[in-house]
C-alpha cells in the first residue's frame, strides 16, 4: 500500500539553553531538548492515525513538523512523495500545502477576534488568489452551522461552534489531510461528541485522512484506525486500534490503559503508576521508560530497544512478546 504520509526517522531538537552570557557566568553547558527522536510511521489514505502520549511526549511537535510550522532537525516527512522541508520545486510545495490543513486545540485562541467568520474561513483560499464566492456559506452548512453565521464575529459563538468554524476553515482549500491537535480537549463532553461525529462524517464524505493527536484514550479509541504511542519523543508502540487496546505490548501502554479513569470502574482501587515523565533534556540512558517500568532489567538501563514487529504491532521493548 502506498502511504499518503510517510515519516522517516523524524527528529527535532530544541535549544533551550539560557542566554550565552548566563552560560558563561554560570559555566553551564548548552541545554538541548530532544522533543522528537527517530520517529517513523506511515499513514495510508483515508485513514485516521492517532498519536497518543502524555505532555512532553512530542506529539504536538510531530503535528507541527508535518504541516511545516516547525522544520525537522533530521529525518523527513513525505506527503504524496514530497518532502516540504527540502523540496525546491515551488509548484510541488504549493500543491502539498493546499492538501494539508490543521485544527488546533483551543478554538478561542485560533480564530482572529477582529475578523468576520466568512473572512476567516475563506482565508486559505483568498490568500492564494482563489475564488471565494459563497464558499464560506457552503462550508458553514457543511459543518452544521447556518449560512447566516458568515457575517458574525468569533465571540458570538460557543466553544463547540468555534471548533466547527476551525474545521470549516481547514476544509476551505479542499485538503486531503487534516492534522488535528487535541481538537476536542477544550470542549465539554456533549459538545465533544458533536464534533467527533462531524469529523467522522467529513472523513467519509470527503475521503479525508486525519493525523489525530490526543491524550484522551477513549477519544482515540473511538476515532483511530492505527495508534502510535509516544513516550519522551520516541514511538514505543504502534498497532491497529483493536489490537492495541486488547493486547498492549509495551509496559508504558499498559500503564496508560490502567491509569486512565474508566466510567465502569466504580470505586476501583488501583495501584497508581509510579514516578513521572523524566526530564527530556537529560533523558535516562537505555530505554527511557526503565525507571518507571515494572519489567526493567539491567539490559534496559544500557541498551535502547529498537522497534520490532510482533504480528501487526510494532513495539520498542526488550521484554515485549
Amino acid at each position: 500500500m502506498n502511504a499518503l504520509i510517510s515519516v522517516r526517522d523524524l527528529t527535532r531538537v530544541f535549544d533551550v539553553s539560557k542566554p550565552w552570557l548566563n552560560r558563561v557566568i554560570e559555566r553551564l553547558p548548552k541545554a538541548l531538548l530532544t522533543a522528537v527522536s527517530e520517529v517513523s510511521f506511515d499513514v495510508p489514505e483515508n485513514s485516521v492515525y492517532a498519536l497518543v502520549g502524555e505532555s512532553g511526549s512530542g506529539k504536538s511537535t510531530i503535528g507541527k513538523i508535518m504541516v511545516g510550522l516547525v522544520p525537522p532537525s533530521a529525518g523527513s516527512v513525505e506527503i504524496e512523495g514530497v518532502d516540504l522541508a527540502t523540496e525546491t520545486d515551488a509548484k510541488k510545495v504549493e500543491a502539498v500545502r493546499d492538501d494539508i490543513q490543521m485544527i488546533f486545540q483551543d478554538p478561542f485562541a485560533s480564530l482572529n477576534p477582529r475578523w468576520r467568520v466568512d473572512d476567516i474561513i475563506e482565508e486559505p483560499v483568498a490568500a492564494k488568489g482563489g475564488k471565494t464566492n459563497g464558499l464560506a456559506e457552503k462550508l458553514l452548512e457543511q459543518v452544521g452551522l447556518s449560512a447566516a453565521d458568515a457575517g458574525k464575529y468569533p465571540h458570538e459563538f460557543s466553544g463547540g461552534q468555534r471548533q466547527r468554524i476551525c474545521i470549516a476553515r481547514a476544509l476551505a482549500s479542499e485538503p486531503r489531510i487534516i492534522v488535528c491537535d487535541e481538537p476536542t480537549s477544550a470542549l465539554d463532553v456533549s459538545v465533544q461528541s458533536q464534533v467527533l461525529n462531524l469529523m467522522s462524517d467529513l472523513r467519509e464524505d470527503l475521503g479525508l485522512t486525519y493525523l489525530f493527536i490526543s491524550h484522551d484514550l477513549t477519544v482515540v479509541q473511538h476515532m483511530a484506525d492505527v495508534i502510535g504511542v509516544l513516550y519522551l519523543g520516541r514511538l514505543v508502540e504502534e498497532a491497529p486500534r483493536d489490537r492495541l487496546f486488547n493486547a498492549p505490548k509495551h509496559p508504558y501502554t499498559q500503564m496508560l490503559f490502567d491509569a486512565a479513569p474508566r466510567m465502569d470502574a466504580f470505586g476501583r482501587e488501583i495501584d497508581p503508576p509510579k514516578g513521572e515523565i523524566p526530564d527530556a533534556i537529560n533523558p535516562p540512558p537505555g530505554c527511557a521508560f526503565h525507571p518507571r517500568c515494572p519489567l526493567a532489567t539491567e539490559r534496559c538501563k544500557i541498551e535502547r530497544p529498537e522497534m520490532r514487529g510482533i504480528g501487526t504491532t510494532r513495539v520498542a521493548c526488550h521484554h515485549a512478546e
Partner: protein, 329 residues
C-alpha cells in the same frame, strides 16, 4: 457516619447583578456531605459547579453573592460569616484544592514557609512543631525526601508534585471538609491516577468529607461515593454514583453518559445532545434543559423548573426516565 453531615447546603442561591439583569449561577441547590464521603459534582462548563464550591467556602468574587439558602458546616451556619470569621474557618475547618497548582502557590515563598504559615495560623503549636508537621504533611501526600524538599520553591517541583503540595497545604490544618475544584484537570493521565488514589486514601484514613468538582465522568466513577449532576445552575440529579451513572433518571445525565466515548462501544456513532448549555442571561422558561431534551412536553416548558424534592427525589425532572422509557442509545 455521624448524624450531622460535615457539610449541609440548603436551597443555596447565588446571584450576580449585572447591567442586563440578575444572573443565577447557582439556583436552589441542596446537598449533604458526610465524614469520609466523596461527593462528586459534575457538569459542563457554565453549569455552576465551581461557583457552588466557592460559595460554600466563602470565596465568591463580588458582585456574586449568596442571596438565600444556608450553608451549614457541622451544623453551624457559615454562609453569613464575614471577613475574619470566615477566614479563620477557611484552612482550619475547610481546605481548598484548586485546578492549577502553580497559581495557587506563592512563587516567592518556599513550600515549607507556606505550610508552616498555615499551621501556625490555625493550630496552637510552636515554630519547631509546625515545621515537623509540615514535613509530615508532605510525607503523607507522597513527596519523596520531604525533609529536604521542604526548602524548595514551587517552581522546583513538577506539576504532579505541586498538586501534592497543594493537597498537603489544604490538609495540614486538619480540616473536616476539603473542596477539590478540578484537581486533576491540568495533569497527565498517570499523574491523575496518582492524585485520585491519594485523595481517596486521605478521605478514608482521615474521615475528611470531600467535595470533588470535575467535568470528568471517569474520575467521578472511580473516586466518588455519590454524585451531583449540575445543569445551568441547578441540580439535575443526585444519587449514589453507580446508580446515577448506570441508570440515569434525568435525560441530561443519560445524554451525557451516552455521548462519552466508551471502550466497549467500539466505533458506533456517538449519541449527541443537540445544542449547548444555555447562557445564564438567556435561560429558557421552565426546565432549563427542555430545548435540548428529546422527552420535553408541555409541562416542561410551562411550569417553573423542577427541583429534586418536587420530583422523585433523585432527578429534577417531571418525567424521570424509567426502564420502559430509557434512551434507546
Amino acid at each position: 457516619m455521624t448524624d450531622t453531615p460535615v457539610l449541609s447546603v440548603r436551597d443555596l442561591v447565588v446571584e450576580i447583578p449585572t447591567r442586563h439583569g440578575v444572573l443565577r449561577p447557582v439556583d436552589t441547590v441542596s446537598y449533604d456531605i458526610h465524614a469520609g464521603e466523596i461527593l462528586g459534582v459534575v457538569g459542563e462548563s457554565g453549569a455552576g459547579k465551581s461557583m457552588a464550591g466557592n460559595a460554600v467556602i466563602g470565596l465568591l468574587d463580588r458582585p456574586a453573592r449568596i442571596v438565600s439558602g444556608e450553608v451549614l458546616l457541622s451544623g453551624q451556619p457559615i454562609h453569613n460569616l464575614k471577613g475574619d470569621a470566615i477566614r479563620r474557618l477557611r484552612g482550619k475547618k475547610m481546605g481548598m484544592i484548586f485546578q492549577d497548582p502553580l497559581t495557587s502557590l506563592n512563587p516567592l515563598l518556599t513550600v515549607g514557609d507556606q505550610l508552616t504559615e498555615t499551621i501556625l495560623e490555625h493550630l496552637s503549636v510552636g515554630q519547631t512543631e509546625a515545621r515537623k508537621r509540615a514535613i509530615a504533611a508532605l510525607e503523607e501526600v507522597g513527596i519523596p525526601a520531604a525533609a529536604q524538599r521542604i526548602n524548595s520553591y514551587p517552581h522546583e517541583f513538577s506539576g504532579g508534585m505541586r498538586q501534592r503540595v497543594v493537597i498537603a497545604l489544604a490538609l495540614c490544618a486538619e480540616p473536616d471538609l476539603v473542596i477539590a475544584d478540578e484537581p486533576t484537570t491540568a495533569l497527565d493521565v498517570s499523574i491523575q491516577a496518582q492524585i485520585v488514589a491519594l485523595l481517596k486514601r486521605l478521605c478514608r484514613d482521615r474521615g475528611v468529607a470531600v467535595m470533588l468538582v470535575t467535568h470528568d465522568m471517569g474520575v467521578i466513577a472511580e473516586a466518588a461515593d455519590r454524585v451531583a449532576v449540575m445543569y445551568a445552575g441547578r441540580l439535575a440529579e443526585l444519587g449514589p454514583v453507580r446508580e446515577v451513572l448506570t441508570n440515569a433518571h434525568h435525560p441530561y445525565t443519560a445524554g451525557l453518559m451516552a455521548s462519552t466515548p466508551l471502550a466497549s462501544q467500539g466505533r458506533k456513532r456517538l449519541r449527541q445532545i443537540p445544542g449547548s448549555m444555555p447562557r445564564l442571561g438567556a435561560l429558557p422558561s421552565g426546565c432549563a434543559f427542555h430545548p435540548r431534551c428529546e422527552f420535553a412536553q408541555e409541562k416542561c416548558r410551562a411550569e417553573p423548573g423542577p427541583t429534586l424534592d418536587r420530583c422523585d427525589g433523585r432527578a429534577a425532572c417531571w418525567f424521570p426516565l424509567t426502564d420502559e422509557r430509557k434512551v434507546s442509545a
